[in-house]
Symmetry: C2
């Protein structure tokens, strides 16, 4: 017999127990704060003396803070309200997009305290140059955070590509022209980032900032189409960390060739380039749209044309929505998620994509109940991956506060 | 911030710690036995006094057994070899197929000790009658097990359909004609079974008996086509326990109507009825094949005709294999499993299905490395679901030995 993970591979120990209970207190305060020690005991089932001892340790490490006497008027420590600290340990998020770089810092409450996004023609630059620019941006963000009393304890970088998990090497990011880029080795500054797929980080941001459910599929679409699978409130990344390649689900198996070598993949019908082509628009529209969006932003152009009633753009988006719905129907039948969230830049096209997506899902998810309202549009949109990159560190600290013991 | 499962929802306690360590010792002996107490300490990282205390408790509960002095010739308890007991607590597996009923008992070592399968026209009988027949079979199996000193502590029943998880109601098993059948309520005997999808149990048997990997997709095909997703050595069943509906992945979205109401689903191309139709054979072949298989066994007939070189059957299987490969390419891109296992009755058609499946997978899984050898054929085949039903209880006991404390 093979032993399941329930059997565990490490012995349970006093130290592991304390670490678990520190995390339990930390996440309870994060979820319910401001909250008294007595209320933490009530939520967790821990005794009040145990809570007091754990809280003292978290206060000393600067992870929790006290607001002073609680509103009931009684004074003294037992009644004073606890909150997660908005100073001290923080998360640094970084992002390499096709046309921009980003850096942000969030505190342990998950609030954005520093946010910088700059244009950068990353696909036309050598990876080392891109990383040098990003490291400079990271330094500025870290300096800004220091002024707010915040100290990033780890950095996570979002990339639009497949990431080899353990080494932090970007295996393939075709839209950047990156293949086997060892980010940590090339990183010219302090705090080399852990690299993660942007769709996964977008889902993490959704989960943290706007929790829709513990089990959902987050579709992140623009140049490429990725999906992140959230299972039991955690990212599911597959055997090698490469799960979520929705873009290469076969939609019409005998359809036109895709850049991946296969035929009729979802990206061939629904990625930005395919929609622009079907709409009769150039692949990188050079004209600034009248609403002042930046040049080259095909998504903003599609939204503007669709809003103005351009029939060809409307048909192109309808077709993309159908293809997205077909691919997602397969994913929903396979994974049984509670919800599907459309995120990334395509959140801005939700008005036109969601109706055909819902129709396809309703027609094809029939062996179980499927509520059309279970498909929603992310409120974070393009901000998701960078925010998620910073929040990844915040989650780590909440789940193991001892990792930042100084 | 939402708290992740890592934060946990229950406090760690001394009792939970002991339960964890009992499971750790139990699964270590299961995986390495016969094994001495000293070796268990070495494998687990627990101290030898702790191991001795835990082992004493497991011996007293009849979950472990001692083989006497170890081969090194020294006598006394510390050197004597431990094994999981082949008497006492056991798992009872039950199965309702379209044309058969099954019952089996395995001991805690995972060995089959009682195995009975009888023909029964279940789709033509009321569910209560089917369950009455199965309960009678279960009683016989339990009596047989008692004669071997085995006592089933729980029963699990395999059904070819979707199971609503908590209540044990079979939501829908179209090939049986079952809709909302409350199995536990209708069960006329002792030990009412927990109900589980047959594909999931087939995967569990594969995981226990022939572990291929901790992360794999197990395809179970015959009348219906289901998949079970094994992640980190455990079944992944989705938000409502309904994951794995590979049969209704769209293969050709504008293809012929499927019984589910959608168009061009995998089952329309690759389920037994579709293959028989494409091969020009009747849907329920009445003729006994020359090899003596039982009437109505379309799979055996297809295998015999294919082996004899029937070109039309060969083309039908080729087409089914292509459709299976297309649907699985989507699943592999989405889930990043380490392996795909073809199980259930279709394991008997592996010789003809696997080559086109491998070709489709190779052509369509291109954004990551994919080894054609990662698609294998189950050695358990049709035996999988019934075996898995019994092993499900064995796994539960190994993961929480205190559940059977008497």
């Amino acid at each position: 017999m093979r032993s399941g993970p329930g059997g565990g591979s490490r012995p349970a120990s006093q130290q592991g127990m304390r670490q678990h209970n520190l995390a339990l207190v930390m996440s309870t305060v994060a979820g319910h704060g401001p909250v008294s020690r007595a209320a933490v005991a009530g939520h967790t089932g821990l005794t009040r003396p145990a809570v007091s001892s754990l809280v003292d340790e978290l206060l000393a490490a600067g992870l929790l803070t006290e607001l002073g006497p609680a509103a009931n008027g009684r004074v003294g420590r037992p009644g004073s309200a606890l909150m997660v600290s908005d100073r001290g340990p923080a998360g640094l998020g970084l992002e390499v997009g096709v046309g921009h770089l980003g850096a942000c810092v969030t505190d342990l409450r998950g609030q954005v305290r520093v946010w910088t996004v700059v244009e950068s023609p990353n696909a036309a630059l050598p990876p080392a140059e891109v990383l040098a620019r990003l490291a400079a941006l990271a330094s500025e963000a870290t300096a800004g955070a220091a002024g707010l009393g915040l100290r990033p304890v780890a950095a996570v970088m979002a990339v639009p590509g497949l990431v080899a998990d353990a080494s932090g090497t970007v295996g393939s990011a075709p839209n950047l022209g990156w293949h086997h880029v060892p980010v940590a080795d090339l990183w010219p500054g302090p705090l080399p980032p852990r690299v993660e797929n942007e769709a996964n980080l977008g889902a993490l941001a959704e989960l943290s900032a706007h929790p829709v459910a513990a089990d959902f599929i987050h579709v992140s679409a623009e140049s490429g189409i990725g999906a992140a699978l959230v299972v039991g409130g955690r990212l599911f990344t597959g055997a090698r960390g490469l799960a979520g390649e929705l873009g290469h689900m076969p939609v019409h198996p005998d359809g036109p060739p895709c850049s991946c070598g296969a035929r009729g993949c979802l990206e061939r019908y629904a990625a930005k380039a395919a929609v622009l082509r079907a709409a009769g628009l150039p692949p990188n529209p050079a004209a600034v749209t009248s609403s002042g969006e930046r040049p080259g932003d095909g998504i903003a152009l599609l939204a503007e044309r669709a809003r103005a009633g351009d029939a060809r753009v409307g048909r192109a988006l309808e077709e993309a929505g159908r293809a997205l719905g077909t691919a997602l129907a397969g994913a929903v039948n396979l994974l049984d998620p509670a919800a599907v969230v459309l995120g990334g830049a395509y959140a801005e096209l939700g008005e036109w994509l969601v109706p055909p997506m819902r129709r396809e899902l309703a027609a094809r998810v029939t062996v179980r109940e499927w509520d059309p309202g279970a498909l929603t549009v992310s409120e974070l949109g393009r901000r998701g991956p960078l925010l998620g990159a910073a929040l990844a560190t915040v989650r780590s600290v909440l789940e193991d506060p001892t990792a930042v013991w100084t």
